[in-house]
C-alpha cells in the first residue's frame, strides 16, 4: 500500500455565478440603498433616511445577534429574549436618571461616560438574568421546541410583571444626553447625532463579534458547535458551558440593545422588548439561523427598508419587512447565509 496518492489533487474553479453567490446577501444592502435613491425624490431626505435605517438596523443587530447564536448552537427557541431588552432598558435608563448631572452637562465626554455606565450596568444585570434564565427555564427543556416556546414565553411574562412591580406600569419618558440631542447637517441632510453614535457602536460591535468568531479559539468552538455540536464534544470541548456563555453574552447584548433602543425611542415600557421581537425574529430568520453575518445583513436590510417605505408609503411600513422576509425565504429558504447543520 502507498502512503500518499501519486496524483496532485486540485480544486475545480467555480463559475462566476457560483463565486458571486456568497456575496449576493452583502450586495443587497447597496441594492436597497439604490432602490431608496431612485424612489426618494430628494438626496438629503435619502441621506437622512439611510443613516436612520442603518442606526435602526445596527440596534436590531445588537439585540438579535445573541438570539441567533443561541438558536444555532443548541436549537433553543427563546421567545423570552425580548425581556432582556426591556430589563436592559430599565436598568440602563435608571442609571442615566441617577446620573442626571452628567447627562445634562453640555460635555460629550461626560454624556458618553454616563451612557457607558448605563450600558455596563444594563449588560451586567441582563447577563446575570440570562444566566438564571438559562439554568431555571431553558435547561430543563433542551430538545423540546414546543416546551421551549411555552416556558420562555412564560418567563417573559413573569419578568415583565416584575419590571412593572419594580418600576411601575407607566411608560417612562427620557431625554437623550445633552450633547447627543439634535442633528448635524451634512450635504443638506439632517442626521441625528444619536443615530450616528448608534451606527458607530453597532459597527464596532459587529467587528468585535466577527473577530471573536473568526480569530479566537472560543469563536471556532462556537462556529463549529452551531454546525455539529456532537463532534465538538467528541473533540473534548464542553459545549454546554460554551452555550451558557453564549446565552449570557447574548442576553447582555440584548440589554445593551435595550438601552440604545430606549434612548432611540425616548420612551421605555415593560413590553418594549416583546414589541421589537417581531423584527428580531424576521432578522434572525432571513439572516439564516445561527449566522451572525446573516443577522447583521438582515438587520441592516430591515432597518433601511422600514425607513424608506415609511417615508414613501407609511401604510406599507409595517408589512414591508414581512414582504422582505417572504421574498428572501422564497429565494433562500434557509436564510441568506445558511449555517450547515450536521445531520
Amino acid at each position: 500500500m502507498t502512503a500518499a496518492p501519486d496524483h496532485t489533487p486540485t480544486m475545480s474553479r467555480a463559475g462566476l455565478a457560483e463565486r458571486l453567490g456568497p456575496y449576493i446577501p452583502v450586495l443587497l444592502i447597496p441594492a436597497i440603498m439604490a432602490f431608496g435613491l431612485i424612489f426618494i425624490p430628494s438626496m438629503s431626505s435619502w441621506l437622512t433616511l439611510t443613516v436612520s435605517g442603518l442606526a435602526m438596523g445596527m440596534m436590531i443587530f445588537i439585540m438579535a445577534s445573541g438570539m441567533t447564536l443561541v438558536f444555532g448552537l443548541m436549537d433553543v427557541i427563546n421567545f423570552g429574549h425580548g425581556v432582556f431588552i426591556s430589563v436592559g432598558a430599565f436598568v440602563g435608563i435608571s442609571i442615566l436618571l441617577v446620573l442626571g448631572h452628567m447627562t445634562e452637562a453640555p460635555s460629550l465626554a461626560l454624556n458618553l461616560a454616563a451612557i457607558l455606565a448605563a450600558v455596563l450596568a444594563a449588560m451586567a444585570a441582563t447577563g446575570v438574568l440570562g444566566w438564571a434564565f438559562e439554568r431555571v427555564i431553558v435547561k430543563p427543556v433542551y430538545g423540546a421546541h414546543l416546551k421551549q416556546i411555552l416556558v420562555t414565553m412564560g418567563g417573559l411574562i413573569v419578568v415583565e410583571q416584575l419590571i412593572i412591580v419594580l418600576w411601575g406600569p407607566e411608560e417612562i419618558y427620557i431625554l437623550r444626553p445633552e450633547a447627543l440631542r439634535g442633528a448635524i447637517t451634512f450635504a443638506g441632510a439632517a442626521m441625528e447625532k444619536y443615530r450616528l453614535l448608534a451606527v458607530g457602536i453597532g459597527a464596532v460591535l459587529f467587528l468585535v463579534m466577527r473577530y471573536t468568531l473568526r480569530r479566537t479559539k472560543i469563536g471556532l468552538i462556537v462556529r463549529a458547535g452551531v454546525e455539529n455540536g456532537e463532534m465538538v464534544e467528541a473533540l473534548g470541548y464542553r459545549l454546554r458551558l460554551v452555550f451558557v456563555g453564549v446565552f449570557i453574552a447574548g442576553s447582555a447584548l440584548a440589554g445593551l440593545g435595550g438601552v440604545m433602543w430606549g434612548l432611540y425611542q425616548e420612551v421605555i415600557t415593560a413590553h418594549m422588548g416583546q414589541q421589537i421581537m417581531i423584527l428580531i425574529f424576521i432578522v434572525v430568520i432571513i439572516g439564516g439561523l445561527g449566522s451572525v453575518e446573516g443577522c447583521f445583513i438582515g438587520a441592516l436590510l430591515v432597518g433601511l427598508l422600514q425607513n424608506y417605505i415609511a417615508f414613501l408609503e407609511p401604510k406599507l411600513a409595517l408589512i414591508s419587512n414581512i414582504g422582505l422576509m417572504v421574498a428572501i425565504l422564497m429565494w433562500r429558504p434557509q436564510g441568506m447565509i445558511p449555517v450547515v447543520k450536521a445531520k
Binding site: M1, A3, P5, A234, Y237
Partner: protein, 241 residues
Amino acid sequence: MSDPMLRLSGVYTDIAQYHILQGVNFDVPRGQVTMLLGRNGVGKTTSLRTIMGHWRARAGQILLDGQDIAALPTPAIARLGVGYVPENMGIFSDLTVEENMILAASSGPLDRTRLDWLFSVFPPLQTFWKGHAGNLSGGQKQMLSIARAMVEERRLYLIDEPTKGLAPAIVSTMAGALRQLKDQGASILLVEQNFSVARALGDSAVVMDDGRVVWTGAMAELAGDAALQERLMGLSMEAGH
C-alpha cells in the same frame, strides 16, 4: 498479558424503544488494531458511539485503561485521550482545514512536527490548508477527519468506516495512514467493511451480529477461513475481493 486499552463488559444500549446493543463484550488490546466487523445494522457504529458517550449505555462497563468511562460525558472521554472519527466524518464545513485542525488539537497549539508528518501522509490537506473544508472532495474530507484524530497522540482511536465510498487510490492512502499509526504503537478500534483493508491492518477481530459479539479471535484466523466468514458475515473475503 497486559490489561487491554479498552474493555466492554455486558454493555447494553437502547435507542428509543429499540435494544441495539444486547450485552456486548470485547477487548481492544494495547498497541493493536482491533477490527469490529459485521453486517450493516448489527451495532458496530452504536458500539463506537456508546464508547464515545454519545449514547449512554443502559448497563455494563466500559473500561478505558482500567477506568470506567460508561457514565462520563463525551468531552471528558475525549479528554482522556480518545480520538473519534465518526461514520459521517464530522467535518466542520464552514471552517477551514486549518481551523478544523486547530480545534482538534484541544490540548494546545498545533505541533509542527506532527503536522508535517500529517502533510506527508495526506498531501491535499497542505494544498487546501486555508480553504473551506466544505469545498473538499469526499476523499479529502475523510483525510481531514482522520488527520484531526491523529493531530495529537491519543490513547485510543475509534474509527468508523474510513474507506466507505472512496476511490481505490484514496482507500490506499487511508490504509497507509492507518498503517503508520499502527506502527507507532497506537491502539485502534476500527469499523471497516473493506475486507482487504481489514485483513491488511487488523491484528484481532470482533464480529457482531444482532447487537451481540458472535466471534472474537485473530484477524489472520478469520481471513484464512472462508467458511467462518460466510457463517459470521454472510460473505467471504475472497468473494468480496
